[in-house]
């Protein structure tokens, strides 16, 4: 594989396989995600999309196959290792930290904070540097909240937010970890239309800044209008992939969806 290709491919999934007991949830899935793209991952229910997400991000360990991120092998690594390498996910049902304020949620994001060391947090001299960094983290948190237009909620408990606001918060929080790539699991589920519009605008803004997105989404309008590349999964494998127009008219894809419905 040539060097330039490696540069363009940020995530490479090869022959990924996962069995739960006797059930094969993912059966040799392979695909690549191009750096700087918004890529959609679709498929009927039970196609193995969520499991694939979990395998990539370390929530589950694959039985076989490899995941390369930025050219590094991250197969079977722990979720925190993978996240700290710059591959960060959000969840289908937003996992906000309910009894922490929105601002506290946000400030959890940044990586390698000095004050995450117990010693530095407690020792009088070292704590000074922690406080300095806390101010930077706070300012970044406020900026990001303003960017997502949820700064008016900063001091609320995250648990009191609406479903859509939580999704925004989760994305904003993930962004503060300085990721290279974001995996969004159904980012539009349960989000009202005006928030959805806002969320999509933000995703495009971030794409312009160089972030890569892989999203699982059921809303076909979102996939067709906002993704450059679409991967279709069916029965644990990649059925086909291509640009939205090609996918829309693909016979196999239509069959898979109809078969999945029946």
């Amino acid at each position: 594989m040539s060097n330039s290709q490696e540069q363009e491919t940020i995530l490479q999934v090869s022959d990924l396989e996962k069995r739960f007991g006797g059930i094969v949830a993912v059966d040799g899935a392979s695909f690549e995600v191009e750096r700087g793209s918004i890529t959609g991952l679709i498929g009927p229910n039970g196609a193995g999309k969520s499991t694939t997400f979990n395998l990539i991000t370390g929530t589950h360990k694959p039985n076989a196959g490899t995941v390369l991120f930025n050219g590094q092998n991250i197969t079977g690594k722990s979720p925190e290792r993978i996240a700290s390498k710059g591959l960060v996910r959000t969840f289908q049902i937003a996992r906000e930290l309910p009894e922490m304020t929105v601002l506290e949620n946000m400030m959890l994001g940044p990586k390698n904070q000095l004050g995450e060391s117990l010693w530095r947090s407690v020792m009088p001299g070292a704590r000074r540097t922690v406080i300095e960094q806390e101010k930077e983290v706070r300012d970044r948190a406020w900026e990001t909240l303003e960017f997502f237009e949820i700064d008016h909620l900063a001091e609320e408990y995250a648990g009191s937010l609406s479903g859509g606001q939580r999704k925004l918060l989760e994305l904003a929080r993930a962004l503060l970890t300085d990721p290279d790539m974001l995996l969004l699991d159904e980012p539009m589920a349960g989000v009202n239309p005006s928030l959805e519009k806002k969320l999509l605008e933000r995703i495009h803004d971030l794409q312009d800044e160089g972030y890569t997105f892989l999203l699982v989404e059921h809303d076909m309008d979102v996939i067709m209008n906002h993704c450059e590349h679409v991967i279709v999964m069916h029965q644990g494998r990649v059925l086909t992939e291509g640009d939205p127009e090609a996918i829309q008219s693909d016979e196999e894809v239509i069959d898979a969806y109809l078969g999945g419905e029946a």
Partner: protein
């Protein structure tokens, strides 16, 4: 879906499991060596295994109830041990009131000899001395415990149906304290013997039995079943009958199916129209009934009663439930068997004051290696 997170070092965990299994295998080899070398008499081993089986029966009776409330009401009920105590005191009070008429004053009988005025021997409190009183006591133990458990459910847990597992757990510690010390207030905190010495039959001459005897002679093994303790026999028979009864109930009745459905998935059960409150009531009836009987039978077997009789057993009961994997009554019974055997067979290697330490340590080690219990994930209600 994402709730099951795994430690990153799966191999280390597997290694730990193999070490644990290896340790058990070594002990088994040592056991055989001792038998062959003659340092351990087969009769001694048999006695230890039998005692382990007896222990596992009352632990198992209690564990079924704990496992059911755990899976259906979704919390670790720390007052379950004290339901055993309620059954023990309630049942024996009834036995004393009926069995001791004329032999001792009513006050002394009502308070189970709290004032030393109703000695068990003088009252003939044994299965031979007053069989009817003891059987009525057994039934009352179940009924009284069921009544108390349902009352507690109405007063406490029903107000907390939507609360989290930890809040319920803490409330159940409160319930445990209230129950135990109300009993203490009435019956005093003194531990005392309240059962007359156990009657025996036998010994059974196994060698005189046709096939078994011939086989034993052929192997050259000396083996006789010593005199049978009738109180122990009562415990074994009552416990086995109840366990089989619960099995039939859960497998073959509509109620049993509802309970299994609710244990598997409470929200789904709600949607499918199962009357959850009815199932919860049934859970308390079965769980508390078995707990009350277990408490009563422990006192029959050990002849001592104290306000801590259930509390001191609670951790062993939890160990059985956790080892078996919550949600499965068969798991709970298997766990009880492991705990019962561990408590007794460990005596071959360790002094008797460390047998509970061994059982608790085993529980912790198994949880490190299999966090969901040995039979975890096998949901059979």
């Amino acid at each position: 879906m994402f709730s099951k997170q795994r430690l990153s070092t799966v191999s280390a965990q597997d290694l730990f499991g193999y070490l644990l299994l290896g340790g058990i295998a070594l002990l088994a080899l040592d056991l055989i060596r001792r038998l062959v070398m003659g340092t351990l008499a087969p009769g001694t081993l048999w006695t230890l295994i039998w005692n382990g089986f007896v222990d596992s029966l009352y632990i198992g009776l209690a564990a079924i109830g704990l496992s059911m409330t755990y899976s259906i009401l979704r919390f670790a009920n720390f007052s379950h041990g004290d339901l055993l105590t309620v059954g023990a005191f309630g049942g024996w009070t009834v036995a004393y009131i009926i069995g001791g008429i004329g032999a001792a004053g009513f006050g002394s009988r009502l308070l189970l000899d709290a004032d030393g005025g109703a000695q068990a021997g003088a009252l003939g409190m044994s299965i031979v001395g007053s069989p009817l009183a003891l059987i009525l006591g057994l039934i009352s133990a179940a009924l009284i415990t069921i009544g108390i458990a349902l009352a507690v459910d109405r007063l406490v847990y029903k107000r907390m149906r939507r609360a989290g597992g930890i809040a319920l757990l803490i409330a159940s510690i409160g319930v445990a304290l209230v129950l135990r010390y109300i009993i203490a207030l009435i019956y005093t905190v003194d531990s005392r013997g309240i059962v007359a010495s156990a009657p025996f039959v036998g010994p059974l001459e196994v060698h005189e039995l046709a096939v078994v005897g011939a086989l034993l002679d052929l192997l050259g093994v000396e083996w006789n079943i010593g005199p049978i303790n009738l109180h122990e026999a009562t415990l074994v028979i009552s416990a086995l009958v109840l366990i089989i009864g619960v099995h039939l109930l859960l497998q073959y009745t509509k109620l049993g199916k509802s309970m299994r459905a609710m244990a598997d998935n409470r929200d789904l059960a709600l949607i499918t129209g199962i009357e959850t409150e009815r199932v919860i009531t049934a859970t308390w009836v079965i769980g508390a009934g078995l707990a009350g009987v277990a408490g009563y039978l422990i006192v029959l077997d050990q002849s001592q009663i104290s306000i801590n009789v259930g509390w001191f057993l609670l951790l062993l009961i939890f160990a059985a439930v956790i080892l078996g994997g919550i949600g499965s009554i068969y798991g709970a019974l298997a766990g009880a068997l492991i705990i019962g055997l561990t408590l007794n067979v460990s005596l071959i290697w360790l002094p008797s004051d460390l047998n509970e330490v061994t059982a608790f340590t085993l529980m912790i080690l198994v949880l490190i290696f299999k966090p969901d219990g040995l039979l975890g994930g096998v949901e059979t209600a």
